[in-house]
Symmetry: C2
Subunit: 342 residues, 2 copies
Amino acid sequence: MRGAMSAEVLPLRARGSQPTLAPMLALTAPGMNSVNAVILDRMQSEIPLIPALAGHLISGGGKRMRPMLMVAAAEVCGYQGTRHHKLAAAVEFLHTATLLHDDVVDGSDMRRGKAAANIVFGNPATVLVGDFLFTRAFELMVEDGSLKVLKVFSKASSIIAEGEVDQLTAQRRIETSEEHYLQIIGSKTAALFAAATRIPAIVAEKSEAEEQALDSYGRNLGVAFQLVDDAIDYDSEASESGKDKGDDFREGKMTLPVILAYARGTAEERKFWEEAIAGFRTEDEDLAHAVKLINRHGCVEATRERARLYAQRAIDSLSIFPAGAAREAMCEAVEFAVARRY
Amino acid sequence: MRGAMSAEVLPLRARGSQPTLAPMLALTAPGMNSVNAVILDRMQSEIPLIPALAGHLISGGGKRMRPMLMVAAAEVCGYQGTRHHKLAAAVEFLHTATLLHDDVVDGSDMRRGKAAANIVFGNPATVLVGDFLFTRAFELMVEDGSLKVLKVFSKASSIIAEGEVDQLTAQRRIETSEEHYLQIIGSKTAALFAAATRIPAIVAEKSEAEEQALDSYGRNLGVAFQLVDDAIDYDSEASESGKDKGDDFREGKMTLPVILAYARGTAEERKFWEEAIAGFRTEDEDLAHAVKLINRHGCVEATRERARLYAQRAIDSLSIFPAGAAREAMCEAVEFAVARRY
């Protein structure tokens, strides 16, 4: 679809200038007030543990990236209504549910810079409140009443769940290929971004081409975002992220920096990776060694380079939409996502 | 609604005769073949762990009670179509997802007479495959395409999730009242039974009265079923159930037999219960003592007596439907559910 309706080329910002989220934040501020009101209203329950645990994560420094992208996508579609506010809350609830279950599955200690919900409330409550948010997400989608939206959302949720299981299966398996890794992040991360940005086009009754363009924007941004996330976990120059640095390493996750370092490594280095991914090298000095190997072979930069390719695709997808503040903000948000170091 | 459209009284079977599931099994056999085909087809995935883990539970001796009730409810509505087969598979997937998460939450060892999925596959895989079945349930519901059905189903799923959290909150709390207990089982168990039996009435385009009648049938049967389940865990005359006997006791679950034994107990007995529910009495001899106290005060029989009240309500709900094999089978299934000792 890209380029079919426009010859315009939207280049990635020139090296040196600093993309920011400011235009996106300004564009979406009014819409996000409404979305946040729905989120706060609909995470309530007569069972006090539910808002307590959900609020721990939801109020806990989340960027609300997916709802923000939905508000921006509604803008770029020229949508004047408010249906997407409830739908954006639903997407955030689904995302929050997956984070809660991820933290149980990974035994995480930290999330968004503070103790993870499973640490504060225990695994049982975290699993069950995750389930609750999941059902609440579907309730909100059903309330909206569009079967077309429901199809996109339920399909995405099922792909995410499959991707999570696929990731678990690939864990501690040194033979995981780059292709398999891309498939995993396409499912576990990019599918929800794609649904999030596609749904406003459906609500705004835009053409199939515009729906697909926004799907492509979200999907490619999602892949780029996850690639950068995975790069940061091994980036010696990156500041602390919200999660514990080295989590991926200790959990034996086969992310792209490791896949590349293993492919590019010497026999001795490969032996190290085999032991590390199998779970026999979990000390701080092992992590430091891993970071050294990954940087020796330029694997953080190579991962970021791939992220920039997907970012360019995301930006190109928007060329069928009219130029203006919404499209500009969505492009700069992509640039921001791939340039970030935290 | 009961009795409004008919003066007929459908009594519980006289003491002494043995109700069986045979009429229900005969009535639903053809429909269940189709439901089972959907279940097997839709639990597939390219990620081998998904059918392996889901199949462990789904093929593992489940009674498929909810799908069976849906097929029977479709019959009593005179429904000639096949839409309820897919919807019944969706209900079974949702139920299976909750069982998988329950087993993780409770740290169960056994389920349906064999090792629980969390023991065989680990907690992470069990949580994530539960999520997958959950999303697949919604996909099937969305495929059917009825917003009215989706509303009933999504509302029920959210009530179930709330009930599960509520149960967790009540665990190890000796002060849990009978009323609170009834609310918990109304949510965690009866809500899905009610949705299951209501949905065929919607699909068959029956009147609101008939929808409500089948909702009431499922809801009351669900409460009765759970009461009997909870009684059996302390019934010295009951044969082994599929789960470990004494699980409820060791987990500090405040089920009705315990609530009654605590209310009826001496000061010394109450002290025992306080220690046991708090988790300080988990030996086999403690369980034996608990069973003795519960039976001394007739609490298994009192729990069963309450179950019979709900069972009678379930049966009465059906009086607006025409007499015939379907209604007879649904009545006898209720009697069977409350009379069972395993």
